[in-house]
Subunit: 431 residues, 2 copies
């Protein structure tokens, strides 16, 4: 049996453990909270309060409009984009931070549709998973209807059986938000390319959590487009702006074909401060910026991205992944050992190679109440209807003892039946 002491020993030996100091964990620990929801909103970086204060009080308050130059607000989207690029295997100048994941997906999917619009097929197909994050499906559904593409949603996690010559665009989230199932990006990309399709990856639950090599092993398995989220494993703060990457061969195609992504705003112009009435897209990825970005939220995002980059000195994303697997495996083992007989069934892949940095357990009934009771005991995960208790693990600040404590409290909630208390069934606005 696993003991708390053995977990503490693993923490003592963990080379990533010092990175916990990069977060305001005192604010979390003081509440006795074990936070297992970094897959939804990462913890406040310790550097963020001072940086945000500087941006607000000095750069905005004193620098005023001059800070677009003097504080280099104007290149913030690119600077943070370059940092995120290092986490996904992209090059400098290839990633831009802007808008939300939904909006960036609209930009890149519109581009992919345009690249495939010449197809002879009456309704070229966009393929995705029914369990993909809903905003991806909503954005795709609207674009599919508009451009007379067919949006086909499948229930099978193995998409390779659905790649035929009608396929125009494969749009997947690498790590599923419900189950944590993780696709093999290179293998899936290659199979889709073999079928003649363009591949868009949503890296919302990948960037900062698992190694991503956007270029794969070569042209055959290099992704075509990618988007991702700033406020999950990148710890960028609530609603932090998102990112987008486009393969340089596709921006070159856009140049040749004079294609514009549909959100052709002024900060994606080749010369925004020429204030020309005629749109001319900036070169490369910069054309995927639209309007003026929310600078204070961007500054917080940079602090968050920096926490992940700080791991480069202690093994980088490979070390993060190694610890992530260890944390999720420990959680699975402990729940199955210590909470058996309470109707919890693992809903995440048992094989770590197919599992992102989260673990979900299904419970046929009362999952919501159990999660509320667990949160009342200071273990913060979340619930996804109809039956999933979802737990995220951020190796930068989650300790092995946190996993032990979380399962210990989960066991107490289940053994005591305290989740049956009426107060735990009241539905919150945000679940």
């Amino acid at each position: 049996m696993i003991s708390r002491d053995s977990c503490a020993a693993r923490d003592a030996a963990d080379r990533l453990a010092p990175l916990r100091l990069l977060f305001a964990m005192d604010r979390v620990d003081a509440q006795g909270v074990v936070y297992l929801d970094g897959n939804s909103l990462g913890v406040l970086p310790a550097s963020a309060p001072a940086r945000i204060r500087e941006v607000a009080e000095v750069e905005w308050g004193e620098g005023l409009i001059r800070s677009w130059n003097s504080a280099r607000w104007i290149t913030l989207s690119q600077r943070i984009g370059d940092k995120i690029a290092r986490l996904i295997g992209a090059g400098p100048g290839e990633v831009v931070v802007a808008d939300s994941t939904s909006i960036n997906l609209h930009k890149v999917l519109s581009s992919a549709i345009a690249m495939k619009a010449g197809s002879k097929d009456p309704a070229p197909r966009i393929l995705s998973e029914r369990s993909n994050f809903p905003t991806d499906l909503y954005i795709a559904d609207t674009l599919a209807k508009q451009h007379r593409f067919e949006l086909l949603l499948i229930d099978d996690v193995d998409v390779t059986g659905h790649l035929d010559d009608r396929l125009a665009v494969l749009m997947l989230t690498q790590v599923n938000y419900r189950t944590g199932y993780m696709h093999d990006m290179a293998a899936v990309t290659k199979a889709a390319h073999d079928a003649g399709a363009i591949v868009i990856w949503d890296l919302a639950h990948s960037a900062g959590a698992v190694p991503v090599n956007i270029y794969g092993n070569g042209p055959a398995d290099a992704a075509d487009f990618a988007v991702g989220c700033g406020y999950k494993y990148l710890n960028g703060g609530p609603g932090a702006p998102a990112f987008a990457w486009v393969h340089p061969t596709h921006t070159a195609w856009m140049d040749r074909e004079h294609f514009r992504q549909p959100l052709s705003g002024w900060l994606g112009h080749a010369a925004p401060f020429a204030f020309s009435p005629d749109y001319e897209p900036a070169s490369g990825i910069a054309r995927f910026v639209c309007g003026t970005p929310p600078v204070i939220s961007l500054a917080a995002l940079e602090c968050g991205v920096d926490t992940v980059l700080a791991a480069e000195r202690t093994g980088g994303i490979a070390a993060i992944r190694e610890k992530s697997i260890a944390l999720t495996q420990l959680f699975i083992d402990l729940v199955e050992q210590r909470c058996s007989g309470h109707g919890l069934a693992l809903a995440s892949p048992r094989d770590a190679s197919n599992r992102g940095s989260q673990v979900s357990f299904a419970r046929p009934t009362h999952g919501y109440e159990i999660m509320q009771a667990l949160i009342a005991r200071g273990v913060i995960g979340d619930f996804r209807a109809p039956d999933l208790l979802r737990f995220g693990f951020t190796p930068l600040y989650t300790r092995f003892v946190d996993v032990w404590d979380a399962v210990d409290r989960l066991r107490s909630v289940l053994d005591s039946g305290e989740w049956r208390d009426a107060r735990f069934s009241a539905r919150a606005a945000v679940t």
Copy 2:
């Protein structure tokens, strides 16, 4: 002749003067700066640093994911929207804060195009001004090309001569960013409606600066759609999220026709936390939200909007407008009295009823250098190529003596010829 003492006397009698305390003017005054660029980026509200700190350190740092409920982040877009609604004559639940002005314009113009797409005309026309803010033109140009509408740009500020039966959508910014020319919203809307067109107003330079009555005097001159900016006269901070308003008859049309605005993201869904794979738009304006908003920047925006609402106790937007006219008139009078012979020609309307809260002077040559030299003397305006020196006046914090001091320093810059110094010709990234 006007004296500085007479300006000081006007400040002493100004009922809006106490509102200056709502801003961190100590940070501006301590530099000896006269800030006349609130039309580009409003000054930091005094309440914003503490509020931003609370959001970052307490709501994010301690509340973590729970703050979507406990700190009501989930309704922030609507709450701030309701506050902005009071400034533009809209009702509660009719305005939403989201994304950028560019993106909101894309949403509403897409909607207007859909409403007019059944037209028999081979290329229904979108009409705007060549001197409209470029991002509006870029967004419109891309949508026009996509939907085979014609985008016609005119140079005449009197648009009424161009309203014929080909007109589908009239898209104007009420106050021109270059000259400060202000359209009569009700009169122009009525004329466009008489021609059968839909009218979209960009209120970027209006909201918080001039009275806006989005509903006009009745159905004939009520606007159809409006968007606006959070970081100018609403003092929301750099890149603050923008707002959107849609006439309720049009959201009702969208319901009947099952029309979606193209950026159908998850937070515009009728039940986002049901995580349904099928999109169902939220009722009313809420469907114009797309992805997760940048909460920290939203919190700063709320502080900014509150500074404008604080004027409700001392005459409200009417008092702001009255002082705005007095400030801009004083500036014009002083420049024309004290800076004559230096080649400055008023580029803004002399008639205050057609003038927003800014004044621009054209100078055929070296306007850029003169503005840089003026900024070096602590008067911050900006330059818009090829020839405009642009000055914005925010009645909440701009004093009559500020106007006097600004012109006094402008006169020194011109009389001395110090702007000829080589350092003032170096072009900054952001002009």
